[in-house]
């Protein structure tokens, strides 16, 4: 038997192996893709009710007597005026047979607690409405909303309430419209009023602080360790510790933040500033490790070329090495920030889990972040929060996609052919 035949025989086996391996790899890719697909579809289906909100049309008579204000009212009068009474009155006209006090309360519960504020804002914007009767769309309570959205299967509504809802439906007083509110407000105990903007802004400020701290510090540390540091035992020690830091459980960083930044330095509790600092500490090792390998990958010939022209070490580093390493550094930074974006545990320790209604206006305002908001909503008993939770997850994923998109764009911008 000569060599050719021998090779031919083994060739068959090799091709078989290759085929098998290709199939397995494809399967792995498909599995990953399927998991992602299932997650996304499930989230979108679960979240869809959260993007739609039911409103009810009530004919509101802005009665000066009931509101106890005169034609030239000021803001204070408006604050004290009894708008709730207007809604009661309107409902009474619709359902005159409801007499019992407890029934009246149940009737009132169909409408969101927000309704009276909406009336107040309306009157403030259009003072000429005083003394007029106008049809106004008001938010319904989340129980009614859930009941209507779930084809009348769920929702904590009593028999009487169902009768009233049916009556209102027959009068064509319900409408469903896109839930802008969800994207414009902070958290609330009432699901129909709860919005994601507070958490989005909280996440934004937190990540901003994280980025501003961890990116420059991480890149500088990596540049120092790769380009300037002498090779000795101290540097080895630092290296080992950076690698160890990357493996420290994140809650430990939270405890550190609580003990050092809040208790010792007296920084504000629940603030994106502290959250950002804590997450920056957590992100630093990731950025340093990624930046170092990116810097290491820059061809030594580039350093030699610049050195040979009389560039100083620092010029070599910042004119050539760092720009060439930038795509890799950015990738590391984005991975680190994506981790930080999804981090919950350390933020619980520094109080970012508090119930915060206001939208933070800066890094020192109390705030919560997206993953913590998801955790809070997932923990809430109202059924309507299920959809809100899924919607918040979608927003978080969107945030992540936007961040990654930005990174890809930046990388393309910095990438150069060798």
């Amino acid at each position: 038997m000569n060599n050719t035949e021998q090779i031919k025989k083994s060739l068959k086996k090799r091709y078989r192996q290759e085929k098998r391996f290709r199939l397995l790899s494809l399967l792995a890719v498909l599995t990953g893709f399927a998991c992602l697909f299932i997650l996304l579809v499930d989230m979108i289906i679960k979240a869809s009710p959260a993007f739609i909100q039911t409103e009810v049309k009530l004919d509101i008579y802005f009665s000066p007597e009931k509101l106890n204000i005169s034609a030239n009212f000021d803001l204070e009068a408006l604050q004290n005026a009894n708008f709730r009474g207007l809604i009661k009155q309107s409902l009474h006209q619709l359902f005159p047979t409801v007499r019992k006090r407890s029934d009246k309360r149940a009737l009132m519960r169909l409408i969101s607690v927000d309704a009276e504020y909406r009336l107040r804002d309306k009157l403030q914007a259009e003072p000429q409405l005083l003394g007029e009767t106008v049809p106004i769309w008001l938010l319904v309570d989340d129980d009614v909303d859930t009941y209507l959205k779930s084809d009348k299967q769920f929702g904590r509504v009593s028999q009487e309430q169902i009768a009233w809802i049916t009556e209102l439906e027959q009068q064509d007083r319900f409408q469903q419209r896109f839930n802008y509110w969800f994207f414009q407000t902070g958290d609330s105990r009432e699901p129909e009023l709860a919005g994601i903007l507070g958490a989005v802004m909280g996440s934004f400020y937190t990540l901003l602080v994280t980025l501003l701290l961890s990116f420059p510090i991480g890149v500088m540390a990596a540049v120092y360790l790769e380009e300037f540091a002498p090779r000795n035992r101290w540097i080895d020690f630092i290296e080992v510790n950076i690698n160890n830091l990357a493996a420290v459980p994140s809650i430990v960083f939270g405890l550190l933040g609580l003990a050092v930044f809040i208790n010792f330095f007296g920084l504000p509790r629940s603030a994106p500033l502290v959250g950002g600092i804590v997450l920056a500490l957590m992100t630093l090792p990731t950025i340093i490790i990624a930046s170092r390998s990116a810097i290491k990958a820059v061809s030594p010939s580039m350093r030699e070329a610049a050195l040979g022209l009389g560039a100083s070490k620092i010029q070599v580093a910042f004119h050539h090495v760092v720009p060439l390493a930038m795509p890799g550094i950015l990738t590391g930074t984005i991975i680190g920030l994506a981790q930080a974006l999804g981090e919950t545990a350390p933020l619980l320790m520094i109080g970012m889990v508090a119930f915060i209604v206001d939208i933070p206006q800066g890094a020192t305002d109390a705030a919560t972040v997206l993953p913590v908001q998801i955790y809070l909503w997932a923990d809430s008993p109202e059924r309507a929060f299920v959809a809100k939770t899924a919607a918040a997850i979608l927003v978080l994923l969107l945030f992540l996609v936007a961040m990654n998109g930005l990174a890809v764009w930046l990388r393309k911008k910095f990438e150069r052919r060798w």
């Binding site: 010939s301 580039m302 030699e304 610049a306 022209l309 009389g310 052919r417 060798w418």
Partner: protein, 270 residues
């Protein structure tokens, strides 16, 4: 026979010293950690001539060359002993700045290594670094002159602002030479500048070296004996970290004194 050769490598044959030296190296030893790479080398590099350094791989030619502009400073374990002076001043004096030295002693590397920027930016980098041009017009002038000197201008004049890594290997190497001469160094060190180029590009580079000799002092490491014979005026033969023989190129190639040199240039060894 063999023992005879071993005995003879401890001294340098020929004429290591010249009248008009640009760089003089005396009793130079180089160590990488504990390993000695260069043993007691003495050599003068003459003004406005090309000195070729030849020898088998690993004989220390590149190490020697890189010591002349302190490129080896970047290797932490490398230690240089002895006296290397440029125009009579020791370049390894502690107060001597390697940055200034490298501006005076430029280097062209084995593999063309243009920056991944435009042709213009590559040449303009050095002058900008050292503030050699006061304004844009002066900088343009330096770039064009350097490219012309490197014999590259006609080929790239229409693509000055396209990326340099898109040039051919030979063009890239000439760009590196243009980049080096843009800061008007006094000495140019070349570490096998044509080793990754085809014969045509090599011929162009060799012509260029001959042309550059008028204005610059050049030391070139090469593996090609023909190249050394063609471009250099003096040749030094390195063997295991020592200079075995040094002299006029014509003399070295036609009438080598040392047996090792003869073996090497006739292709029997190395």
């Amino acid at each position: 026979m063999t023992t005879n050769i071993e005995q003879q490598i401890n001294e340098t044959w020929g004429q290591p010293f010249v009248e008009d030296a640009k760089i003089s190296i005396r009793n130079m030893d180089v160590f990488y950690a504990d390993k000695q790479a260069i043993f007691d080398v003495n050599l003068d590099i003459g003004k406005h001539e090309v000195t070729a350094l030849i020898g088998p791989s690993g004989c220390g030619k590149s190490t020697f060359l890189r010591c002349l502009n302190r490129m080896n400073d970047t290797i932490p374990i490398c230690r240089v002993a002895g006296d290397i002076s440029l125009d009579g001043e020791n370049i390894y004096d502690t107060h001597k700045d390697p940055v200034l030295l490298r501006a005076r002693v430029g280097m062209v590397f084995q593999k063309p290594n243009p920056f991944p920027k435009s042709v213009y930016e590559n040449v303009a980098y050095g002058p900008r670094l050292h503030g050699l041009a006061l304004n844009r017009a002066e900088l343009d002038d330096i770039v064009v002159t350097s490219l012309k000197k490197a014999g590259l201008y006609n080929e790239v004049k229409n693509r000055l602002h396209s990326v340099a890594t898109g040039l051919s290997g030979g063009q890239q190497q000439r760009l590196c030479i243009a980049r080096t001469i843009a800061i008007s160094p006094e000495v140019i060190l070349m570490d096998e500048p044509a080793s990754s180029l085809d014969p045509i590009a090599t011929a162009i580079i060799e012509e260029l070296i001959d042309e550059l000799r008028k204005n610059y002092t050049i030391a070139i490491v090469t593996h090609s004996m023909q190249q050394a014979a063609r471009v250099s005026q003096r040749t030094a033969y390195f063997h295991l970290g020592r200079i075995i023989e040094v002299g006029e190129t014509t003399q070295i190639f036609t009438n080598p004194q040392h047996e090792l040199t003869e073996n090497y240039i006739t292709g029997r060894f190395g």
